[in-house]
C-alpha cells in the first residue's frame, strides 16, 4: 500500500507546490516509486514547476470522469524514471472533483506506487478538503509570519476532524511542520517569527526549515524542482526533509544565521 502525503497550508503562496515538487522528486530519487497529483483544479501550476507543461494531454479530472485511463494521464518525469505527475485540469473548477472519484484514483495509484504526494490548493474548501481527506501524512507548509501560522493552525484542526482517518476513528494523520522562506537575519532583527515562536503556537514535529533563497524562483522559472539544485541552500534543506521523513537522523540546518567569511561579507552572497 502506498503512503499518501498531503502538502497543505491553508494560506496561499507559502510554497506548497514548490514543496510538493521537491519532496516528490526527492522520494523518487531515493528509489521509491512516487506519484505527485495537482489538486489545484483550475489553477494548475505543478506541471510548470515540474517542467512538463508541454506534455499534458489528459488530466486528473479526465481520469475521474473516466475519459482517460490513469496510464494515459500520468506523465513520466524525464529526469527520474521513478516519478510520475498527474496534472490538474485548467479548464474546470474544484467542483469537478468528487470524493468518490478521488478515492478511486488514489486506490488505483496505491497498487503501483510507494508514495503519493497530493499538492493541495490554498483555502479550506473542496479542493483542499479532498486533497487531505485520504492522507496518511500531512506536510504543513508555513511561513514564519502570523497569518500563515494561524491558517496552518486552522488547517491542522481540519486535518484532525474531517479526514477519512478521523471519520473512521483510525490512527490520526501524522502531521509534520515545514517552515519555508525562513530568514535567520530577519528573525534576528525581529521582523520574522523564529522557529521557537512558530513551534510554540503549532507544537508540531519539525521536519525541516527551508531558507529563503533565490534559487527557488530560478528553479520554478526553469521548471526544475529546487531539490535538484544541489548547490542551493533550499535544495539541501529539501534533501534533508526527505531524508528525515524516511527516518534518517539528519541535524537541522539553516535555522541560525550563517557565519560569513571575509569574502562573504565583501560580496554578500546568499
Amino acid at each position: 500500500m502506498a503512503r499518501i502525503i498531503v502538502v497543505t497550508s491553508g494560506k496561499g503562496g507559502v510554497g506548497k507546490t514548490t514543496t510538493s515538487a521537491a519532496i516528490a522528486m526527492g522520494l523518487a530519487k531515493k528509489g521509491h516509486k512516487t506519484a505527485v497529483i495537482d489538486f489545484d483544479v483550475g489553477l494548475r501550476n505543478l506541471d510548470l514547476i515540474m517542467g512538463c507543461e508541454r506534455r499534458v494531454v489528459y488530466d486528473f479530472v479526465n481520469v475521474i470522469n473516466g475519459e482517460a485511463s490513469l496510464r494515459q494521464a500520468l506523465i513520466k518525469d524525464k529526469r527520474c524514471n521513478q516519478l510520475f505527475i498527474l496534472p490538474a485540469s485548467q479548464t474546470r473548477d474544484k467542483d469537478a472533483l468528487t470524493q468518490e472519484g478521488v478515492g478511486k484514483v488514489l486506490k488505483e495509484l496505491s497498487k503501483e506506487f510507494k508514495y503519493i504526494v497530493c499538492d493541495s490548493p490554498a483555502g479550506i474548501e473542496r479542493g483542499a478538503n479532498l486533497a487531505m481527506y485520504f492522507a496518511d501524512d500531512a506536510f504543513v507548509v508555513t511561513n514564519p509570519e502570523v497569518s500563515s501560522v494561524r491558517d496552518s493552525d486552522r488547517m491542522l484542526g481540519i486535518l484532525a476532524s474531517k479526514s477519512r482517518r478521523a471519520e473512521n476513528g483510525e490512527e490520526a494523520i501524522k502531521e509534520y511542520l515545514l517552515l519555508s522562506r525562513y530568514s535567520p537575519e530577519r528573525v534576528k532583527l525581529g521582523e520574522m517569527l523564529s522557529v521557537e515562536d512558530v513551534q510554540d503556537i503549532l507544537s508540531l514535529h519539525l521536519l525541516g526549515v527551508i531558507p529563503e533563497s533565490k534559487s527557488v524562483l530560478n528553479a520554478s522559472n526553469s521548471g526544475t524542482p529546487v531539490i535538484l539544485d544541489e548547490e542551493s541552500n533550499a535544495g539541501k534543506a529539501y534533501a534533508d526533509v526527505v531524508a528525515r521523513y524516511l527516518g534518517e537522523d539528519v541535524p537541522h540546518r539553516f535555522i541560525d544565521e550563517e557565519k560569513k567569511g571575509i569574502f562573504g561579507k565583501l560580496f554578500g552572497k546568499k
Binding site: 493552525d153 486552522r154 484542526g157
Partner: protein
C-alpha cells in the same frame, strides 16, 4: 388625560427575557394500554403524593410510538390534569398526537441524549419517584455531569462544548473557542476564547498556564484581550466571578 395614564413611562423596562434551565420529571410511556398506564400512574402518585402535586411534567412518547397501535393521547392528558399533573411538553409525538398537544397548548420538545436513550424497564412509567429521588439525584450528579478531556491542541477554528468541566492538556490557539457549563482547565497557553459557566453557573472558573486570550467569560460576564493587556500573562492564572466582576489572579 386618559392617554397619559394608558401610556406607560418607558424609561424603566417592565420585563426582560432570560434564559434559564430547570428540571422537571419526564413521564416516559412504554405501553399504549391506557388502563394499565392509569393504574400504574395512580400507584406511583400514591407513593409520593406531595412530590407529584401540581408538578410540571414532560411526556416522552418515543417508546410507546414504537408499538403498532398509537396511544390515545387526549384521554391521557385529561387523566393527568385530573391527577393534578401539568404537562408542559411532549417529545416523540406522531402527527395526530402533536395536534392534540397543540389543542391543549402543550409545546413540543426534543429530549436529547440521556432520557430518550435510557433503557428503562418497560413497567416503570416515570423516571422519577419520590422514594428514590434522593438516591437518584446523587447518582445523576455523577452520571449527567459530562466532563470532557482533550489531550491535543485546540486549533484555530475548532469549537468545543463540555456539559460539565472541560480539561485541555495542551494549548488553545487563537481563533479557537472552548465552552463549558462548568470550569475550564487549560494546561497550556490560552490564546483563543474561553467561556465557562455558559448556562449561568457563576461559581465556575477558568484556569490556564498562560493568558493570552481573545476573550474570557464566566456566566456571561466577559472581557476581551484589550482589557487584559496590563496583566502578567506568562504566569498560571485563574479567572473567577466575584460581585458580577471578573477577577483575574496569578496562581
Amino acid at each position: 388625560m386618559s392617554t397619559d395614564t394608558e401610556a406607560p413611562i418607558y424609561n424603566k423596562s417592565a420585563l426582560e427575557f432570560k434564559s434559564s434551565s430547570f428540571s422537571s420529571p419526564v413521564l416516559v410511556i412504554h405501553s399504549t394500554d391506557l388502563k394499565q398506564i392509569k393504574h400504574q400512574l395512580k400507584e406511583k402518585i400514591a407513593q409520593a403524593p406531595e412530590f407529584f402535586k401540581n408538578s410540571p411534567l414532560l411526556i416522552d412518547l418515543k417508546f410507546c410510538n414504537e408499538n403498532e397501535h398509537p396511544l390515545e393521547f387526549e384521554p391521557l392528558i385529561e387523566f393527568l390534569h385530573k391527577e393534578k399533573l401539568f404537562p408542559v411538553g411532549v417529545s416523540g409525538a406522531n402527527e395526530e398526537q402533536k395536534n392534540t398537544a397543540f389543542k391543549f397548548y402543550i409545546p413540543l420538545h426534543t429530549i436529547r441524549g440521556a432520557h430518550a436513550e435510557s433503557k428503562l424497564p418497560p413497567q416503570s412509567t416515570t423516571t422519577n419517584t419520590a422514594e428514590n429521588t434522593n438516591k437518584k439525584s446523587s447518582d445523576e450528579a455523577i452520571n449527567t455531569v459530562e466532563n470532557m478531556l482533550i489531550t491535543q491542541p485546540v486549533r484555530s477554528g475548532q469549537r468545543l462544548y463540555a456539559k460539565g468541566d472541560l480539561t485541555i492538556l495542551s494549548h488553545v490557539s487563537a481563533g479557537a473557542e472552548v465552552m463549558a457549563e462548568g470550569n475550564i482547565h487549560i494546561y497550556g497557553a490560552l490564546r483563543g476564547r474561553a467561556l465557562a459557566g455558559v448556562q449561568g453557573n457563576t461559581q465556575s472558573r477558568i484556569f490556564c498556564s498562560a493568558l493570552h486570550a481573545e476573550l474570557i467569560s464566566i456566566a456571561g460576564h466577559y472581557k476581551t484581550s484589550e482589557d487584559l493587556d496590563t496583566l502578567d500573562q506568562q504566569k498560571p492564572t485563574q479567572i473567577l466571578l466575584q460581585d458580577q466582576a471578573l477577577i483575574i489572579n496569578n496562581l
